[in-house]
């Protein structure tokens, strides 16, 4: 038996010797894949929904924005963020109408409606899909799949034939009708009901009809019409809105407004397909540069270039000052430039990061675990790559996100809420004491910017420099914003009626409650830090840690006193941030449906908000915005918190990378130098073979030694010759 073992080891060593003849043992791809014009990326959480009517998460949009095309898109390189036509021949024309439907001026008092006219480019084709295939009689060939057709089907593209058709205006109308069906769970239906003429009534009727109909059968929306949606011809669609709503243009760049071909909906409604997890939610179809040919959300998703993608070209506009000229190297080239995109599920940071370093992923974010290995922070807070990254010629891009994380005070609370001077001073004092510059340094590796107000950089209304400083919390000193001293905070606290953190009347220490979702071990240090910030003023902070459900519940009902929350921009307009402080959006006043979680309500702020929400970005709007920000700063319903900074790393063979926080359809602009990638991967991943031989030798020696010991023991006499006699 021991000899058997030795034989096994020798056989194993010989096998390994043979394997050693090949190049890279640790590559997760085939040589053909590496050499092809393919982008290798990863996702950490499987997208739940790809159906444009309901997908709303960033990880979902990262995929379906490559597949679907709403009418507008954000220019890839222009800043501030600028909309441009995507499937339209020109930017939408907006007409203003009175109640009778007659044209009026935007400034006229009898203005009742805005009509947005979309002119669709002729000739745009959908991605090839079996739903479009017709037989000789012109009927849809795959509209009635048999059990035989369904057998072994993994994706719709397993069906033999695929075809396409031209994009028409009715497809956009169909998408809006789908949005109106309550059972489709559109997250923006209630918002759009307020703006699109007739949508609310249509939604009520059609949802009722949907309830009556067979839930698994195709529910054709073509015969139904929405009052405010008019398909003029194949290339013109008119959307009528109540009053003026300039932000609607931004909504038109989102996937909720991506076209939906009815044939595809009919195809996916066939019995048996949903049981195979083949649906519009898993294999959406659009006119975008890529089609989803493989969707295993637990393993891999694969996008393939749309063979008949509309003529779109890399922008050749002049660049802003801070942009590298290399960004225009592909100017004027036909898009998309990458043939295939492979997303692999990587739930853990360790394998993801190491595969990036091995060159098996083309780009990576920087997690807290790998930050020190990747990035060094200079004394003045500048981020730079470490020597190890520079040796590999890895590049870095960083940008401040249009996001705000803030610490909210419940304005309905007896202690921290209210609008009198004392209440303001209490909140201002705490705002000074909670040092978000320190928080960013300790917990975010300098990846953030202390906020001076509700509007992040890059959004109209944000002001940089001295003019943009919050005078209640910061001072402008030697060219930078400096947090006011704790002395100032203590003074304010005393003026608020809490000298040294004690109630002036009762003498009892001020005790505040901080509601947080802090269930993990990492949260503890953050909670300790927060407690210390309040301790500096003599305030005792009680942490009320809970799960996310209970936390949300408390905030909705106004039971939380102080809590941490955040907001990510839907579109680059100040209205999308200031509505978080608009009184009528108060969470408590709307039974939890409102977005104003601090329940802030200042009549002057609300009055100005109603004015700015429909204004163009003019100096007048800017002046009103500054007025609003000043009011909010003085009232201090939030500790303004921070705007996070994204950090991404990418290899030298990955071209045209430029952060665009609002556009999701950016893969079409990217390029890969596959030859360089293959070279670098080979250079970085040569197997080290000698430990294999060493291990084999040790095992062999052990076997020989054991065999010898065993034989000695077997031949050992228990009773020696003398004793035996």
């Amino acid at each position: 038996m021991l000899f058997e073992g030795a034989r096994f080891v020798l056989l194993g060593a010989a096998t390994l010797g043979l394997v050693a003849c090949s190049d890279q043992w640790n590559t997760p791809y085939t040589n053909e894949q590496v050499a092809s014009n393919t982008l290798f990326s990863a996702f950490s959480a499987p997208p739940k929904h790809l159906d444009p009517v309901r997908s709303y998460s960033s990880n979902e949009w990262a995929i379906n924005a490559q597949i679907l095309e709403p009418p507008l898109q954000y220019h890839y390189l222009k800043r501030p963020y600028t909309l441009e036509p995507l499937t339209l021949s020109k930017m939408p024309e907006v007409r203003y109408l009175n109640q009778q439907g007659e044209p009026v001026l935007a400034t006229d008092a009898d203005l009742a409606y805005s009509e947005v006219v979309l002119n669709i480019k002729p000739g745009i084709q959908y991605q090839p899909h079996p739903a479009f295939v017709k037989d000789e009689q012109g009927a849809l060939r795959y509209a009635a799949l048999s059990a035989k057709d369904l057998s072994g089907l993994k994706s719709p593209f397993d069906l033999k034939d695929q075809s396409s058709r031209e994009l028409v205006a009715a497809d956009y109308a169909y998408a809006i009708k789908r949005m109106a069906v309550r059972q489709n769970h559109s997250p923006i239906l209630d918002s759009m009901n307020e703006h699109i003429v007739g949508l609310a009534e249509f939604s009520e009727q059609i949802s009722e009809q949907r309830t009556q109909a067979d839930s698994d059968a195709f529910f054709d929306l073509r015969p139904h019409e929405i009052e405010g949606i008019k398909v003029v011809n194949d290339y013109e669609l008119r959307i009528r809105l109540h009053g003026v709503y300039p932000q609607f243009m931004y909504w038109l760049s989102m996937n909720f407004f991506a076209p939906v071909p009815w044939e595809v909906m009919q195809f996916y409604a066939q019995p048996g397909l949903v049981d195979l997890n083949i649906s519009f939610d898993t294999f959406p179809v659009g006119t975008g540069p890529y089609r989803l040919v493989e969707n295993n959300p637990n393993r891999r998703m694969r996008l393939q270039k749309h063979p008949n993608y509309q003529p779109q070209y890399y922008p050749n506009d002049s660049l802003a000052e801070n942009m590298p000229s290399s960004l225009l190297a592909d100017a004027g080239k036909r898009l998309p430039m990458i043939d295939e995109v492979v997303y692999t599920l990587e739930k853990e940071n360790v394998p993801y990061w190491n595969k990036f370093l091995q060159g098996y992923y083309d780009a990576s974010g920087v997690s807290a675990d790998s930050f020190d290995q990747a990035v060094q922070v200079s004394v003045n807070g500048e981020l730079d790559l470490t020597g190890e990254m520079k040796t590999k010629d890895i590049q870095m891009r960083s940008s401040v996100q249009p996001t705000i994380f803030y610490l909210a005070f419940n304005m309905l609370d007896e202690v921290v809420g209210g609008y009198d001077e004392k209440a303001q001073k209490l909140r201002q004092a705490i705002s000074i004491a909670v040092n978000y510059e320190e928080f960013i340094s300790i917990f975010m590796n300098e990846r953030g910017l202390a906020a001076q107000g509700p509007i992040p950089p890059g959004i109209f209304g944000h002001v940089d420099g001295e003019a943009g400083v919050n005078p209640y919390v910061h001072d402008w000193h030697e060219g930078e914003a400096r947090r006011k001293s704790l002395e100032t905070a203590r003074q304010l606290l005393a003026e608020a009626g809490y000298p040294e953190g004690r109630n002036q009347q009762t003498g009892r220490p001020l005790q505040l409650n901080y509601d947080a979702v802090a269930t993990g071990p990492d949260d503890r240090s953050r909670m300790d830090w927060m407690r210390k910030q309040f301790e500096q003023l003599g305030i005792e902070l009680m942490i009320r840690s809970t799960d996310y459900n209970r936390f949300q519940d408390k905030v909705r009902k106004g039971d939380a006193q102080i809590f941490f929350w955040g907001w990510n921009a839907d579109y680059p307009d100040p209205e999308n941030f200031l509505f978080l402080l608009y009184g009528p959006n108060s969470s408590v006043a709307t039974n939890g449906a409102g977005i104003n979680s601090s329940n802030y309500a200042n009549p002057e702020f609300d009055r100005l908000f109603e004015q700015i929400r429909t204004m163009e970005n003019t100096p007048e709007r800017m002046a009103k915005l500054q007025q609003m920000i000043d009011i909010a700063r003085q009232d201090a319903p939030w500790i303004w918190g921070l705007h996070p900074r994204s950090l991404s790393l990418y290899h030298s063979w990955y071209k045209n990378v430029w952060p665009n926080s609002l556009a999701n359809n950016t893969i079409k602009y990217l390029a890969i130098d596959a030859e360089q990638r293959a070279q670098k991967q080979a250079q970085w991943n040569q197997p080290i073979v000698w430990p294999l031989w060493l291990t084999a030798a040790i095992i062999l020696w052990l076997i020989i030694w054991a065999r010898r010991v065993y034989r000695q023991r077997q031949q050992q006499r228990v009773i020696t010759g003398d004793n035996a006699s």
């Binding site: 898993t282 599920l345 077997q714």
Partner: protein, 325 residues
């Protein structure tokens, strides 16, 4: 034996109802249907109308165990518990709260789990038994002592350490195998080697120590002495006599886990990017997807019951004295 199996399967019904009841109570103690709707809808602003539609679509608008508004016995049958439980007993897992077919997902994900779990189990079992017998062979020597010290060391270190250290050593430093990934069939062998090796190694300490103690108990029995007296070599004594007799206690712990191999391993699959069932339940709990949670708990309970029945059957194979009646 058939009567015995039928009786055990019959006993399984109240167990499964009980398991299902506990799942319902525990899940809905932590999550309300409104919370579930908010989690699934994922909108920034979730309106009451959105929540109500979502609940009505999935039957979460019904009472959990008792419908006060219904007449007679319908008070019990027109409830979420009865409706959802009945479907489970015919293995109709339905759709997840996010709309995917759970049965299709389980079928798709159990094979990758098995691709890792089965070789880890088989190689691990053979290796630990062989090592334990070899250690027994060299009992009382320095090799025995060293092996036990190493076994305790292996047991003392967290499995997560082996995974991360293994990935860094074999994939990053030595560049021998891919750090993570998966391919079905033979193309996937290179992805399977490292997780299987780590799985086997991590279980080596505990397994070897346990089996060694079992074999040491056997080695002093009369039949072993008889075998030696007949002049058999020590290796033959161990592998042909001690091993079969020592299998009974081993089977108790081993056969019961065989059906559960389908369920995969959470950490192993997460780190190695194996698209198995390991994280299916925990992901569903995090996403408050009750449809998956109840299906997986039920599925797990069924597998466990099958495991117990298989254990009983295996006794009759390895010990002819045992009869199932």
């Amino acid at each position: 034996m058939m009567a015995y199996i039928a009786r055990r399967l019959f006993y399984a019904i109240p167990i499964l109802i009980g398991v299902n009841l506990i799942t319902f109570v525990l899940f809905f103690m932590v999550n309300s249907p409104d919370d579930m709707a908010r989690a699934q809808l994922g909108a920034k602003q979730t309106t009451p109308a959105m929540i109500e539609t979502w609940k009505a679509e999935r039957g979460y608008d019904k009472p959990l165990f008792f419908n006060n508004e219904a007449p007679g016995l319908v008070k019990f049958s027109d409830t979420l518990f009865v409706e959802e439980s009945l479907k489970l007993f015919v293995f109709d897992f339905g759709r997840s709260d996010s709309g995917r077919d759970i049965g299709a997902d389980i079928l798709e994900r159990m094979w990758p789990s098995l691709q890792i779990a089965l070789p880890t189990f088989a190689i691990g079992l053979i290796t630990t038994i062989t090592l334990a017998l070899l250690i027994v062979l060299f009992r009382g020597t320095a090799l025995d002592t060293s092996a036990m010290v190493i076994a305790v060391m292996i047991m003392s270190i967290s499995g997560l350490f082996y995974i991360i250290a293994g990935q860094v050593l074999f994939s990053k430093i030595l560049n021998w195998v891919p750090i993570s990934g998966y391919e079905p069939g033979w193309a996937g062998v290179k992805f399977v080697i490292l997780p299987v090796l780590i799985g086997v190694f991590a279980g080596l300490g505990a397994g070897t120590r346990w089996y060694r103690s079992i074999f040491l108990e056997e080695i002093n029995r009369d039949y072993v002495r008889t075998a030696r007296a007949k002049g058999l070599s020590e290796i033959k004594v161990l592998f042909k006599h001690v091993l079969p007799n020592g299998m009974l206690p081993i089977l108790t712990g081993v056969v019961v886990v065989i059906p559960s191999l389908f369920m995969g391993s959470l950490i192993m699959e997460s780190f190695f990017g194996i698209p198995g069932l390991g994280s299916y339940t925990i992901d569903a709990i995090n996403a408050q997807d009750f449809a998956i949670v109840k299906a997986m708990v039920f599925f797990g309970a069924v597998l466990y019951i099958i495991g117990l029945i298989l254990t009983d059957i295996s006794y009759t194979i390895f010990d002819p004295r045992v009869r199932l009646s």
